[in-house]
Amino acid sequence: MPKNTDLLIAASTIWVVVTAVLVMFMQAGFAFLEAGLTRMKNAGHIAGKNVLIFAVCSIVYWAVGFGLAFGDGNGLIGTHGFLPSVTQLISVGKKPFDFFAEIPGAAGYLFEVVFAGVSLAIVWGAMAERAKLWVYFVFGAVFTLIYSVTSHWIWDSHGWLFKKGMQDFAGSTVVHYQGALAALAGAILLGPRIGKFGHDGRANPIPGHNIPYAVLGTIILWFGWFGFNPGSTLSVDFGGFGYFAYVATTTNIAAAAGALGGIVTASLVLKKPDLSMMLNGVIAALVAITAASGYVAPWAAVVIGLVSGFIAVTGVIVVERIGIDDPIGAVAVHGASGIWGTLACGLFTVPLLAGRLATGHGGLVYTGSFHQLGVQALGVAVVGAWTFSASFSVLWVLKRLWGIRVHEEAETLGLDVSEHGMWGYPEFYIPVPGGYGTEAHAHLLGRPAHVSVAATPHEHLPPAVVE
């Protein structure tokens, strides 16, 4: 006969594990969004590196990151729980992972590592189509640690920004804004792709090769975000039993508004309902509602989403204007919109909900007070300074020491064949006149035994040929 506390643990663990798994699947979303918005010649590399970096992140986060972020410690970092033991992972609410009160430490690891993986996936979007492969290993590991520190500040109960009452429900700042800061540093240090900017400095469009991929990626992300935000209750009763359903609702409404905001802005500003911009609008809205999903009313979710759609479109253009080449728009979509979402809490947080979640206070429109907005702005400023400078310095050193960008020929040829020896779509590239799907050529078949089936050709041949 199970005890009610056991059942509570069971339900909470189901919830956290299931949502963690949804978030993990966002890697497929990023892989296809990024591959879709870049060129065929890099498609395999772009998609494949998401598997690689999530792997790097999973190991590093298990060894060090998780302890740094959620192990017992001080206001700045966690100091326990590195290379966690079996017992630490299977016990519930025990030190060093007592931060997770109703789920085993393992569930905590799983939920938090997939978040780190998302932040890391964002980084590479802006660095796509020109970074060296090994940089993914090295910076992937380093960024995982940078990320862990910040998440400790804002999410862990000892974190100094948490103590100030900063509201970042699921990580507009921790996950998305941070990822975008590193992405920005990378894009600046790498410089634009060959051909992105003409001699006159005008930006050239480099169309993504597969919009259906980008759509699939976006829907997968939307899908995964239902794990991202609602799962951040880390239990079934935080905010009240079943409260996470409310979080899912604001998330969905904001995403929808983002799609509309994006496509409408594109139609007005660009005079075309650009599909990639609509998709960016969805993601920007999801990024913004990430911080606010637990705190705001549905109407505010609509506002947040619409504004995000506008930010996505204009942001992409501005970033390009100032000469930064961000192939998939990570800086605008995760950075600008991440800031917007974080500040939006300061504007729209419903006092009742801030109370239920026991984090910070109501927003400006309800309380007339700028307090919460100030706290949010502080968080944005501090994280911006820390993560950008840390990422920039590390990448700058890597660049100085070994260089982080592939050679010109490699970039022109494409990373698939130059870095991995084979294109992502070999049958479009290997110049085989036999064409797609036929392998009837020497290096695969060996010469056919006989080249003629005519008895003895000469007989039939016209004098003109034999002379």
């Binding site: 469009p205 169309p207 500003v269 075309k272 911009m277 041949l461 016209p462 003109a464 040929v465």
Partner: protein, 117 residues
């Protein structure tokens, strides 16, 4: 024999081939996808707010090997059928002499094969 080559818009490929057959009874053509650049302007595209133009337009390059006597009629049929009514882009049609056209399957000259058929 004579080699008649023509550059036409892709939509008209089959119309042209049919017109040649109707006019002269000639069957046999080899078609290659091409892109062309001429007096006509290219297509305009838009992506993430950038407008740009591709100077090339899709065309097809048709090659007909025909008996000398029908060459003129074939050219006539082609340029007639290739005419789309657009202001531009309908392409060209020309001819040149070719020697010793061999039919690979039989090793005979194409003329002979066509006679037999």
């Amino acid at each position: 024999m004579v080699k008649v080559e023509a550059v036409v818009i892709r939509e008209r490929i089959e119309t042209v081939i049919d017109a040649v057959e109707e006019a002269t009874g000639h069957v046999g053509v080899t078609v290659v996808e091409a892109v062309g650049h001429g007096r006509q302007r290219g297509i305009t595209h838009e992506y993430r707010g950038r407008v740009f133009e591709s100077r090339f337009l899709p065309k097809a390059l048709l090659t007909f090997l025909v008996r000398d006597e029908i060459a003129a009629a074939v050219q006539h049929a082609i340029s007639d059928a290739a005419r789309s009514g657009h202001e531009s882009g309908d392409g060209l049609c020309w001819r040149s002499e070719v020697e010793n056209v061999v039919h690979n399957r039989t090793g005979l000259r194409l003329e002979e094969v066509e006679l037999r058929a």
